[in-house]
């Protein structure tokens, strides 16, 4: 039995888990339409790879090329793509995002797929490729691509694999149900991950002691294996990755760091089952186990739900009483968010749909002044100073917020839960985090703009300088020319300029012999041209029109003149 460590802070909200554990995992009839958002993980979404009107099969990839950061999404059932447009998605903003909508044909026909029976013979890189292709993102809530987790970039080898079976948030029992009913899948998933990580020396399954059934089932199944099931007292939020690592190993993930910095990988139950399905069965991630619970639902149970099933479809099969529902929450009561529409689809990270009644979760009471009671600081599992952060968040003092480690806040909501003044502390922190991130992006943009502005200024200055230099050179040249002109002749007329030019041309000819030779050559050429012109004229008079005759006689005349001129020049020279 491993030793366990106790995390600071934490709260004990009513668990409310038993309601949804009275039934086994259920299946819903196929919904008429499936709305599959393209962006269901942390990272950039992949590009749509299907067109409207296209027929798709169950498990068919809806996006084109995928890599570690751009996970694909798949058709959850067979049917026709009827729309690719922006629709409401599971997001606290209530904004729309790009979704592929499929009208199911009811056949639920699988695309051809095959898994690997003996994964131990397979290269881990190929297995990671399969996990990426299956679109597996962390199913605990954050949606971090599983393949990235399993291929830590730094050279630190992974020595501890931690399976997060904590499920500390009230109401949610999806992992509990999965552990009890899909134990074999889970264990195979753990083995596959162990193989990918080159068999880490320790495999710890961290589970709260409020799930005795699951602990029993797991222990009975993994008796002879090197996997250790560690149970510890229930406390919210033990299921946070950093908290669980501390509970099981006593080591703290450094601020801003990842578990891989400690040589650890932490995976969720749902993710492991999805990995098993991807590798052994060759099935992509198209369904997940989701808890549907709350007093406004007549039936509380877990379902294996196809990704893309509208919430309204889930609720319709659970005797949902809208009038009795105070709000519709995706996720648990502590960290979940309210939905604005029941048409929102189930996504890869949807672990719970909570429809509480008014008495169960009443609307938020208005916030009152902070009385500095310090309960929040006692409850904080990250050992932060929530009330201090609250002041700075109100003052929008980003520098101090960061200095007080706002980014170590895991947004668990324990501080808001204990606050006697009903201050929505977590929302303050989330808002501040968003503002700081935005400020950082703006800073990068403004630095970029400054650089571009300064570069442009420099470029314009250089261009100006060059123009100035050219202008100066031109000015100097004209001045010089003017000076030489005025010094040569004061009253320079056109004739003088021509004479000067002729003079210059004459001086270029060096000796009379060369000049004579040149004129003789010119005379010869002129005579041959004269002869040619005479020939053309005789031809024109014989066959051509009067116009041609006129042209030919003109050219004959000019050739004759040229000959005379050259002869005169030659005579002059010989004189």
């Amino acid at each position: 039995m491993s030793r366990i460590w106790e995390t600071p802070g934490g709260v004990h909200p009513p668990e409310n888990k038993q309601q949804s554990m009275t039934h086994s995992i259920g299946h819903l009839p196929l919904p008429a339409t499936l709305v599959i958002p393209l962006h269901q993980h942390i990272g950039a979404p992949a590009k749509v790879g299907v067109t409207v009107g296209q027929t798709v099969l169950k498990g068919q990839k809806l996006t084109d090329a995928s890599n570690l950061n751009n996970l694909p999404v798949h058709a959850s059932s067979s049917g026709t793509v009827i729309a690719i447009d922006d629709r409401p998605v599971a997001h606290p903003s209530g904004l729309n995002a790009l979704c592929v909508t499929i009208a199911s044909d009811g056949k639920d026909q699988w695309i051809e797929h095959a898994g690997i029976s003996d994964f131990r013979q397979c290269d881990p890189h190929n297995l990671l490729q399969m996990i990426t292709e299956a679109g597996i993102a962390g199913m605990g809530g954050a949606g971090f691509p599983a393949a990235i987790k399993l291929s830590p970039s730094n050279d630190k080898p992974v020595d501890t694999l931690i399976i997060n079976a904590t499920e500390c948030e009230p109401y949610i029992t999806a992992d509990d149900a999965a552990m009890q009913e899909k134990t074999q899948d889970l264990i195979q998933g753990i083995e596959i991950v162990g193989h990918i990580l080159n068999n880490p020396s320790r495999v710890l399954v961290g589970i709260e002691n409020n799930k005795p059934q699951a602990i029993k089932v797991l222990r009975s199944h993994i008796k002879e294996r090197s996997i250790e099931v560690v149970s510890f007292p229930a406390k919210y939020p033990s299921g946070g990755e950093k908290q669980l690592i501390y509970i099981l190993t006593g080591r703290e993930v450094p601020s801003g760091g990842l578990p891989s910095d400690l040589g650890m990988v932490c995976l969720n139950i749902g993710t492991l089952i999805a990995i098993k399905r991807a590798i052994i069965d060759g099935e992509p991630l198209i369904s997940r186990i989701t808890t549907v619970t709350g007093e406004a639902c007549g039936v509380n149970r877990n379902y294996e739900v196809l990704i893309g099933t509208p919430i309204s479809h889930l609720l319709a099969h659970n005797e949902f009483d809208e009038r009795n529902c105070s709000r519709l929450i995706m996720g648990g009561p502590m960290m979940g968010f309210s939905l604005t529409s029941t048409e929102v689809p189930v996504v890869k990270t949807t672990n719970c749909i909570l429809a509480p009644s008014y008495s169960e979760i009443p609307s938020d009471l208005p916030a009152q002044a902070c009385i500095r009671c310090g309960l929040c600081a006692e409850a904080c599992p990250a050992s932060l100073l929530p009330q201090q952060l609250f002041w700075y968040a109100q003052a929008k003092d980003q520098e101090r917020l960061e200095a007080h480690n706002l980014f170590d806040c895991i947004e668990c909501g324990a501080c808001s839960y204990v606050c006697p003044s009903n201050i929505p502390l977590v929302q303050h922190y989330r808002s501040s985090k968003g503002e700081i991130r935005k400020a950082n992006i703006d800073k990068i943009d403004s630095d970029n703009a400054r650089q571009r502005f300064e570069f442009r200024k420099l470029r314009l200055e250089q261009a100006d300088e060059q123009r100035q230099v050219k202008r100066e050179a031109r000015r100097l040249a004209t001045e010089q020319a003017r000076a030489t002109n005025s010094s040569a002749q004061s009253g320079s007329s056109a004739a003088d300029i021509i004479a000067a030019a002729q003079q210059r041309a004459m001086t270029k000819q060096s000796t009379p012999e060369q000049q004579k030779a040149k004129f003789e050559r010119a005379l010869l050429a002129a005579e041959s041209r004269l002869e040619e012109a005479e020939n053309r004229l005789t031809e024109a008079t014989a066959h051509g029109t009067t116009e041609q005759q006129a042209i030919c006689s003109a050219s004959l005349e000019s050739a004759r003149q040229k000959v005379d001129q050259t002869q005169n020049r030659l005579k002059e020279l010989s004189d």
């Binding site: 009152q368 403004s446 400054r450």
Partner: protein, 203 residues
Amino acid sequence: MIDAIAQQPMLAALFALVSLGIVFGGLLGFAAEKFKVKGDPIIEQIDNLLPQTQCGQCGFPGCRPYAQSIADGDAINKCPPGGQATINAIANLLDVPAPALDEEHGEEEEIKTIAYIREDECIGCTKCIQACPVDAILGAAKLMHTVIVSECTGCDLCVEPCPVDCIDMLPVIQGIVQWHWPSPASNIDLIATSKIPRREDAA
């Protein structure tokens, strides 16, 4: 030596102090040259806080000249693109009270806008290219121009020179990726009973 000091204590003290003065003076002089800070660092710091839209709404040709002017004692509330956040930051830096934005230079816009060219209507006059302070417009004479969205600071300077008015300033679309949680409503209503919603309201 000791005798000389004992005989002339005044002179010795004078000599000692003067020589110390010379040595330390020399050190200080050396340090002043060696560790000289080039330019005024406060201008740099102010410039870092300004939004770098280079829009000239403050009356200066760019952000840096305005930073220079602030360092020389100009008002710090002339920058509409930066808005109150920038004013507060500069006030914090200079340790002066933060005034409200001077409306004379323009109003702070809630949503950032970016220039878009209606490309069908563009005649390719290059006037906007010459006006853009950050080289964010691409094009050549008699050919269509377009704005590089990621580089546009939304300064408006290209709108006015366009002879065919084909440049629009459109708000940046706030998608899911850019969204962040809004700040919760301030706790003005402190009387809790007046705020408990009735069932019909909430439903």
